[in-house]
Every structure is written in C-alpha cells, then in structure tokens.
C-alpha cells in the first residue's frame, strides 16, 4: 500500500510539501514517506506520542472551571521543510525588522523623533497600553530593549511569506522547537540521513551569550537567572527547560530580593548572592509591585529601581511591549524605512489601520473577507475572522471598531499554507504558521527555522496551542533535492 498524493486535497492552498498533482522541490521527502507506507507512519506517530508523554513535554492550559491541566504537547511527525536559500532571505528580513523595532522603542523612551518627524502618530502612542512611562529616559545596555523577539510568519496562497505579528513581551515556544527536533530524530532517523536539516540546538547557548552580554559586571562571570511566575504558568515547561539548558537558576519572585544598595540578590543555601541578568518571563505589570501593581506577589519589590540604577539587566527590557501592538505592527514598514533607510525585506500582511478614515470605511464594507484584530490581545482571543463569522458577530464588531478605531486593524483573510499531517490513519492538509526567534544584544541571531504551529482541526486557521493547535518540526535544508518530474 502506498500513499496516494493525488487524493491529497490541496487545491486552492499553497502546500509546503505537495503541489497539486505534481511534486514541489522537495519531492524526495514525499517518496521517502511513501516508502515508509501509511501503517509505518502511523506507528512512528504513536512512538512519538509515547516519547513526548514520557519525556514530560507539556504545556499548561486553563479549563473554564479555573483549574490548570498539564497537557501533553501535540506534535505531528511529518516535518515542514524550507529551503536554505529562502531562509537566508527571511533571516536577513527578521534581523532588519527587529533592529528597526529596537531603535523605535529606544526612540519612544527618549526623544520621540519618529513622532516629531511625522512618521508615527502621537495619538497611537497616547493610547498604547504597553507604553510604560516608568521607562522614559532609561538607557538599557547596548540600547537594546527587545532581546528576544518571536515573529510569526505565514505563507499565502501564492507562496509569499508575510510577517503576521511580532511578539516582544515574553514570546514562548522555542523549547518546543528544540524538543520537536529531538523527538523527530528519535522516530524518523532515516530521513535525517537524506536531508541533513540544519541543527537548531545551539539556541540555549546563543540565548545565554545574548543575556550574558547585558551584564552590568562584564569583568565577572555573570549570574544569569530565569524568572518564572511558577509552575502554574502555561509556559512553565519552557522556563525550566531554558534554565536547565543554560545552566542558570530558575527563580520565582520570592527567591529574589533587592537590597538597599539597589542590587538584586537571590536567597541561596550560602546566603544572599548577587544577580546580574534576569531573563524575565513575567509580564511588565507583575515585575515589581513598587513600580506597577502593588498587589502582585509574583514579582520582586525594587526590581525596577535596580534596573534603572543599571545594577541588573532585564530581558526583555520593561516597556519593550510598546512595539508588541498590532497598530505598531502596521507601521513597521515605515519604521524600517525611517530608521534604517532601507526597504523591508519581508512584507507585512496588507493591513488596514482603522484609525485612518479610508481604511475604516473599507474595513466596515468588507468585513466578511477580513480578519479584524484588537491592538493588544494575544493567543487568538478577541478577534473576528470574517469568513467564519455570523452577521450578528460582524455587526457587533463594527460597533466595537467605530467606538475605538485606534484599537483595531484589519487584514484580508489569508489562505494559510498547509503541510500534510497525520489525521487518524491518513495524511490531510492542515494550516501552519511559523515562529522564528530573533536574539539581539551585541550581535543578532535568528533560529534556524522556528516553531511551526499547526491548526489540527480541519479548515481551521487557529494555530495557538491554548486553542488546541499542534506543532511540527521545521527543517531548513541546505540543498533542496530536485523535483523528479
């Protein structure tokens, strides 16, 4: 029995592996999957599921009753493949983007030239929920604010890759990218021999170097810690994973203490020990009850004081989230031109800023073809997916937009590309996106590929794991084997 690629329904979408009745550039992989046969593929998938369960790769979801459940990471073994030549362009595009965003954030907390020069509207900043007045005038090490950025990429029906959004607060997922590779190596070793995907596992050491470069005491061996809200956070697996891989302490707020000298210490068996760099995985508002929410028990009183005094580095810097705003996203092409005097290498998805009257009118007229997003939600919450919406939902959204146009953007509903995915006992196309991670400090580094997320439900475009999405290993392959037809 073999796999019938002709029966694979990919019409109307760009499939990363299968093109219509023919084969795309990476035809060899299809042949290899065929050679394994469907039964074997299903049994490899089962082996992967067992592996993931035993390795304890989990993420935490919150049920509606308020309880937290530790769920096994959903993973599909068929890899998603990208040619290295394409990736080099993406890599350059992402560096460019994050560089511009860092210059933008630094500008917003200093002279705000971008506003004075009329490139970015003052009213957008005025209504930004992630702008932190506490950060005005602060000079973080190397002038960098977003040290770790996770940008989401999607591919449309014509094969164009777009940036869908930039995550600059506490982007997660990189640990799953690394674990996916490990599991794929265990269950599909023969494919690795043929394709030699470029390795991903240097990320933890790159991350450590990025963090260490921020240390206020460069002469010493820097004490870097990962700050987590604790085991009930949905990304706790990742926090502990990264701390483990970097050989750093994983701390909670209660483990840290800011002394009168404005330095940060952790409580250890030997007494107090100085901390130089905090990779914080807690949102701004919970970082320091002295500066933000006084009731928060997650953070560390005085942390902002220590940061402003330059005695500790925080990554990402507080306030970096100001660029994690979907309206700011809509301005990134202009920001790249303004700060770098260059054209964007990777385009944005065409985006209508509802604050602009023409864009608002267009959006309201075309809602059933658009995806409407509020400026500051994440995890796929609070948005309208036009083609899947009811008339009542569209009317409701129209009211919301008219009430606060600045808070909304609209984009044409994209036909996200697909990758064959094991569903039951056969392969079906499922929509994917891609989240590469960009590290910035004394130099920039982009992950080799990233985390491919899969919408596991048929036809669904929602890839978030909190909404039942899964994932795949992502392979950047050096020389795409030639098409055999």
């Amino acid at each position: 029995m073999s796999i019938d690629w002709n029966a694979y329904p990919s019409e109307g979408f760009y499939d990363e592996l299968v093109a219509g009745n023919g084969h795309r550039a990476i035809a060899g992989l299809l042949a290899d999957l065929e050679a394994l046969g469907p039964e074997e593929l299903v049994s490899r998938q089962e082996a992967a599921d067992v592996s993931i369960k035993e390795m304890g790769i989990t993420f935490t979801v919150y049920s509606e009753e308020g309880g937290a459940i530790d769920r096994t990471w959903p993973f599909d073994i068929i890899p998603r493949i990208i040619a290295q030549s394409e990736w080099e362009r993406v890599d350059a595009g992402l560096r460019q983007r994050v560089q511009a965003l860092n210059l933008f954030i630094d500008d917003l907390y200093h002279d705000q030239k971008v506003i004075k020069d009329g490139v970015f509207p003052a009213e957008v900043l005025a209504k930004s929920v992630n702008f932190r007045p506490q950060c005005i005038g602060v000079d973080p090490p190397l002038g960098i604010w977003a040290h770790i950025c996770g940008s989401d990429l999607v591919r449309d029906a014509d094969g164009t890759l777009y940036v869908l959004e930039d995550n600059l607060r506490v982007p997660s997922g990189v640990s799953y990218m690394l674990e996916n590779r490990l599991v794929t190596k265990r269950v599909l070793p023969e494919l690795f021999e043929h394709y030699a995907p470029l390795p991903v596992d240097d990320y933890p050491s790159e991350l450590f170097d990025t963090l260490a470069a921020l240390s206020p005491r460069p002469a010493d061996y820097p004490a870097v810690v990962v700050l987590t809200p604790g085991i009930y956070n949905s990304a706790y697996f990742e926090h502990s994973y990264l701390a483990q891989q970097m050989g750093c302490e994983l701390v909670e707020g209660r483990d840290l203490f800011v002394d009168k000298d404005d330095c940060v210490y952790m409580r250890t068996v030997d007494g107090l020990a100085r901390v130089d760099v905090v990779y914080r995985r807690i949102d701004d508002l919970f970082l320091d009850p002295e500066a933000f929410l006084p009731d928060s028990a997650l953070g560390v009183p005085g942390l902002m004081r220590a940061w402003k005094a330059g005695n500790v580095a925080l990554a990402n810097a507080p306030g970096a989230g100001v660029a994690d705003d979907k309206v700011v996203y809509a301005f990134v092409p202009e920001l790249i031109r303004y700060y770098l005097d260059a054209d964007p290498i990777i385009p944005n998805v065409p985006t209508y800023r509802c604050m602009e009257p023409d864009a608002l009118a267009y959006t309201l007229e075309n809602m059933e073809r658009m995806v409407v997003k509020p400026a500051n939600e994440s995890g796929g919450y609070g948005m309208l997916v036009g083609p899947a919406s009811t008339k009542a939902e569209r009317e409701h959204f129209a009211e919301l937009i008219k009430k606060d146009p600045r808070n909304y953007i609209a984009q044409p509903a994209l036909k996200l590309s697909t990758v064959p995915t094991i569903i039951g006992k056969k392969l079906e196309p499922r929509h994917v996106d891609l989240r590469p991670f960009i590290l910035s400090a004394d130099r920039q580094q982009v992950t080799m590929g990233g985390l491919t997320r899969v919408a596991m439900r048929k036809g669904s475009l929602v890839v978030n794991s909190s909404q039942g999405g899964g994932s795949k290993d992502t392979w950047i392959v050096p020389e795409p084997p030639q098409a055999d037809e």
């Binding site: 604790g230 085991i231 302490e249 209660r254």
Partner: protein, 320 residues
C-alpha cells in the same frame, strides 16, 4: 544554590524513598502471610501501624482488610505515604526544579509515575501486585542510580542525600518498631519455628537478608538482627549508616553547626545503646527517642537552609 531549590530536592528525595519503602513493606507482608499459619497471622494492620497513619485510616475504612490496607498504601491520595500520591508529590517537586536535575531523571520519574498510576488496577490484584511493586522499587533504585551517576555532586546532591537518608532512617526505625512488637504472641512455644520467619521478614522488608547472612554469619535471631539493622555501618539501610550519610552531607554545607550538633546527638544515642539487650518496652522507648531526634534534625534543616514560610518571609523583607 537557591534555598527553594534545596528544599524541593530534599522533598523529592524523601518522596521517592517513601514510595520505595512502602512498596517494600507491602511486598514483604504479602510473602510473610503466605508462610504463617492462618490463625496467628498478624494480617495487614501492622503495615498501617508502620506508617503511623492509623487515625487517618480508621476515618475512612471499616476494617484492616487486605484490600483496604493495600488500597490505602498504594493509592489513597489522603495518605502521603501511599505510593501513587508520593510519586505525584516527588514528580511535582521535580517539576519545579527541572532545570536542576538531569533530564533523564525527570523522564524516569515521570515514567514511573505514569506506570504507577496507569497500572494501579493491576497492582491492586493479588496476581499483579508483586510485579507492580517490584517495578516501583526498581524505579526508585534507578532514579537513585541515575542521580548518583549523572547529577553534579554539589550542594544539590547533599540535599538529595539529606532527604533520602532522613526518610530511610525514619522508615527503618518504624519497621523495626512494629515488626519486632506484636507479630507473634509471646511465650507461645509451639510458634518457635515461625519466629525465624518473623525476623527474616523484617530483614527482607529492607532487602537486608543476604547482607545479614554475609555480614553476621549467624542464624537469624532477634539480638543480632537488631544490632545489624541499627548499628551495621556498611549496610545502606541501617540506622547508623543513614545517620553517618546525613553527617557527611551536612559537613559539606555552609552554616551547618547546629544541624551537625543535632545529628551528633542522634549518633551518640545510637552508639551508646545495645539494642539487643533491650526488652520490647525498652526497645520501643529507644526507637521513640530516635524518632524525635530525626524530627528535630528535619526542623533544623528547614530552619537553616529552606526558605522561610510565606508570611514570615514578607515580614523579614520589611525588616531588612
């Protein structure tokens, strides 16, 4: 290392050890009962006595039947000495310090936890019990082996030892206490042949039978068994071995003066006594003393190295 991490490692070790010990006493009891005449067999109650959880048990169960006791010791989530809940707790402790322990340890602990939970129905049957418990014991031993073979032998390892040996010393004294007491009615001469079986079962609860044979070279008798289990320094589950191991780990930690003092008292008490000369009542009092010492040592560890409990922590922060 972080105080909080030290505490988590310590508890992880205690819970793994606890699961193993519980599996051991259930295994041995099941075997012992097969060897003893029906009329005088002590049944299953002594196992609950060993764990000291009688009040809790009686709140929820009508009688000390095999099924009730086995359920209580394998799976009752109200009982922290029960195998599955102990593994849940060990796993949860390990989860909070996953960055610290080698990942193979986390994977193995996770695997044993999944096994203990999913195969529980088999473990609850007479036929499946032995294989179930054996795998729990081996799993715990594998974890200890992996830790000693792969984890950094640094302060974390010292706290791991503290947890393991404190729990083990505690369990050894409990087993001796219960097993030496009411197993057979005294002065029943016709039961002599079974007395040996009783002491053999005590040894076997701790996998000490072979070690006893090799080290004592004498038939199994109350006096030598007690001496062996309390005072043989070479046997890894004897009380003195555990206390020595605790002292070794303590001596490597900073600010250890008062914890070492408490451990020293424990050791002097142990060495200054000849357990085989104690009658049943004196033995019981002696064990009580040891247990109090073990409890004091735990308190001292917590006071010296573990994070302050939440309320006092915020106080001390404002005092600083």
């Amino acid at each position: 290392m972080l105080s909080r991490v030290a505490e988590n490692i310590y508890w992880m070790a205690r819970y793994v050890e606890r699961a193993e010990n519980t599996a051991r006493i259930v295994t041995v009891n099941a075997n012992l009962l097969l060897d003893l005449p029906k009329g005088i067999a002590p049944g299953w109650r002594p196992l609950v006595d060993i764990t000291g959880a009688n009040l809790l048990f009686e709140e929820h169960y009508k009688d000390y039947s095999e099924r009730n006791v086995v359920r209580f010791l394998l799976a009752d989530e109200r009982n922290s000495g029960s195998i599955v809940p102990a593994l849940v707790a060990a796993r949860e402790n390990c989860r909070t310090i996953r960055d610290f322990v080698p990942r193979e340890v986390w994977e193995l602990l996770n695997e044993i936890y999944l096994f203990a939970r999913e195969d529980l129905p088999k473990g609850m049957t007479k036929g499946g019990r032995h294989a179930y418990l054996k795998r729990v014991i081996q799993g715990a031993q594998n974890i200890n082996g992996l830790l000693s073979g792969t984890m950094l032998h640094d302060q974390g390892y010292d706290f791991l030892h503290l947890g393991r040996f404190l729990e083990r010393a505690d369990m050894t004294t409990r087993i001796i206490d219960v097993r030496s007491a009411n197993l057979l009615p005294e002065e029943a001469t016709e039961l002599r042949p079974f007395e040996t079986i009783q002491w053999v079962s005590v040894l076997k609860s701790m996998t000490a039978y072979q070690a006893y044979r090799r080290s004592e070279q004498i038939r199994v008798l109350r006096g030598p068994v007690l001496r062996f289990l309390f005072q043989n320094e070479a046997f890894p589950r004897s009380v003195v071995h555990c206390i020595e191991a605790l002292r070794t780990s303590l001596s490597k930690l900073p600010r250890n003066e008062s914890a070492l003092r408490v451990a020293g008292r424990l050791k002097r008490n142990l060495e200054g006594t000849e357990p085989r000369r104690l009658n049943q009542q004196q033995l019981h009092a002696f064990i009580d003393d040891l247990q109090v010492g073990i409890g004091d040592l735990h308190e001292e560890l917590a006071r010296t190295w573990f994070p302050p409990p939440p309320e006092t922590q915020s106080q001390s922060q404002t005092q600083d």
